[in-house]
């Protein structure tokens, strides 16, 4: 059985798609056969981050409606042997997703030997987000270190543990917190919530802290998942997060200002 992992947050713009791309790439780089599905029907983004937008022929909704086979719709990643992308439809809306349809696709991926299925959730707590999280075994909740993002994450954790399929079966969804856009300098100045504060409020396992970095934006615009950038703090932090997701014990890095390099301080000044 494939492990279904939803990347969700409630709030928009916190880095769900960036995280989905990085985590799925990271798993595939370690030799796990992985599929990543864009659930943001109507606002297709994942294909851009994964740099496969020119190869999209069929999409997730086509497969659900039986207009294309899964094989036709899956796009093989050019960098990772074991990674496949199932893009969202840009012309439909989120109501095109049905529980039965999503389940059918997930089951088929599982039957095809995929070990991990990453569901990139849209923002919000409406139908699209619900469909993305409903079948999840594991959830990666992405949160920025600011109060509104943390509260939305809290809300989505509540929905996960009460409305998902596992919750309906009386089981729990394994939950992880990923803090993104973390700026230790601003935390020290008191402008930003510290990771301890976020973790205290959300009371859940910390998967990783991704430092705020220019390289993330640059990688997104180039269509290169940040995890491939082994020089950057953010790329390394995602590598660590993938290791922890697979059960390895890795110390958290990039939490304090001291670890900042000279170049990053330069970047911050120009930002």
């Amino acid at each position: 059985m494939a492990k279904i992992i939803v990347v969700t947050s409630g709030k928009g713009g916190v880095g769900k798609t960036t995280t989905s791309a990085a985590i799925s790439s990271g798993l595939a780089m370690r030799g796990h056969k992985t599929a990543v599905i864009d659930f943001d029907i109507g606002l297709r983004n994942l294909d851009l981050i994964m740099n496969c937008e020119r190869r999209v022929v069929y999409d997730f909704v086509n497969v659900i409606n039986g207009e294309a086979t899964l094989k036709q719709a899956l796009i093989k990643d050019k960098r990772c042997e074991d990674l496949y992308i199932l893009p969202a439809s840009q012309t439909r809306d989120k109501d095109a997703l049905t529980k039965e349809g999503v389940e059918k696709v997930l089951n088929q991926l599982s039957d095809d030997g995929f070990e991990y299925i990453i569901c990139d959730s849209p923002a919000g707590i409406e139908h699209g987000a619900f469909m993305a999280l409903y079948f999840a075994d594991t959830a990666i909740v992405v949160s920025n270190p600011e109060v509104s993002s943390v509260r939305d994450s809290d809300r989505i954790l509540g929905i996960l543990q009460s409305k998902s399929r596992r919750a309906e079966l009386g089981q729990t969804v394994e939950e992880f917190l990923l803090v993104t856009r973390y700026n230790p300098g601003r935390v020290e100045n008191g402008d930003m919530l510290g990771v301890d504060d976020v973790q205290e409020i959300l009371a859940t396992t910390l998967l990783g802290v991704i430092p705020d970095s220019e390289s993330v934006l640059k990688a997104s615009n180039q269509g290169l998942p940040i995890i491939h950038d082994k020089e950057s703090d953010a790329g390394q932090a995602y590598q660590d997060a993938v290791a922890r997701l697979l059960g390895e014990k890795v110390d958290h890095r990039f939490l304090s200002v001291e670890s900042k390099s000279f170049f990053q301080r330069l970047f911050r000044r120009s930002a």
């Binding site: 509260r151 809290d154 809300r155 954790l157 509540g158 929905i159 009460s162 205290e200 959300l202």
Partner: protein, 307 residues
């Protein structure tokens, strides 16, 4: 229906006709001061006018714990009928002498053991709360144990419907309510839906609402901002309380709220509430209990007492 003898058989046989389950129910305790029916009628009229909804088919225990010694013995039948007029169904009698117990049996009333503590139970139970809260885990398990005792004792008694005198008694270790005798196995006591203390072990998230109908709510995890806890009885939070907590939502003014770290948006007891901005001034992020006296919500720190 002979429950006692059929119990063992039922557990092993294939198709039991019923199941015996323990249940804890909040019951109104009507503490009678004397047997003056005229005054009882007047006072009940006033009370019902205050909260009409509260008296709709509500089960009640008639308590004689504070009955005046020199007053003539109460006419149980008349009192029962009078209460019924006002929507209170008297289901049991507490603190009665043998003579009255015989009358009670004829009236199909259950007999409850006398309360251990003397009339001033409120203060003593407050002490119990205060000292027990030093070790939250103990309190939680004590409560569970006590509840278990209640269940056990109920199981040994005939009659599927069980009664529980008052929520306060839950916290007096060893004083689990015992039905000394239960009559009316043929005509089960008309009690509301089975309810008991609700225990939540996972974090209560923003947007979630948890209601403990008819009993206490115990949360062994943090309660997030934007979450809402409701209980007919007390609310205990062994973690940070950042959301809203509403105890005694059906009007129980003796209900309390306990929490390990006060960071709440709102605390309410029987409709009297304090908002975050009023709570911030004192005992913020401390272990507290909230109680109601004379329509004022008090927040006091939890301290060990007498140890």
């Amino acid at each position: 229906m002979n429950v006692d003898s059929s119990l063992a058989v039922d557990q092993s046989s294939h198709a039991p006709s019923f199941r015996l389950k323990g249940g804890l129910f909040p019951l109104t305790l009507l503490e009678l001061a004397n047997g003056d029916l005229q005054r009882l009628r007047e006072d009940l009229t006033l009370k019902v006018a205050e909260a009409p909804a509260f008296f709709q088919q509500a089960p009640a225990v008639l308590s004689l714990d504070v009955y005046e010694d020199e007053a003539p013995a109460p006419d149980l039948h008349a009192i029962q009928q009078l209460c019924l007029e006002f929507g209170l169904i008297v289901v049991a009698l507490r603190g009665a002498n043998e003579e009255l117990q015989t009358t009670a049996k004829e009236l199909n009333l259950a007999i409850l053991s006398n309360s251990r503590s003397k009339p001033n139970t409120k203060t003593s139970s407050a002490d119990t709360h205060g000292s027990e809260a030093v070790d939250p885990q103990t309190t939680a398990s004590d409560t569970a144990d006590t509840a278990q005792t209640a269940v056990d004792s109920d199981t040994s008694v005939s009659g599927g419907d069980t009664t529980e005198p008052v929520t306060e008694d839950l916290f007096e270790a060893g004083s689990a309510p015992v039905l000394e005798d239960a009559i009316g196995t043929e005509t089960p006591i008309n009690s509301p839906d089975p309810t008991q203390t609700k225990v939540i072990t996972t974090p209560v998230r923003s947007g979630q609402q948890i209601y403990a109908a008819g009993g206490d709510l115990i949360v062994l995890a943090p309660v997030s901002a934007g979450a809402e806890l409701l209980a007919d009885g007390n609310i205990h939070v062994y973690g940070a309380l950042r959301g809203r907590a509403l105890a005694g939502v059906k009007g129980n003014t003796a209900a309390r709220v306990f929490c390990q770290s006060l960071e709440a948006e709102l605390i309410s007891i029987a409709g009297y509430f304090k908002l975050n901005e009023d709570l911030r001034d004192t005992h913020w992020k401390q272990s507290i209990q909230a109680s109601l006296t004379d329509e004022t919500l008090n927040i006091e720190p939890l301290k060990a007492r007498g140890r």
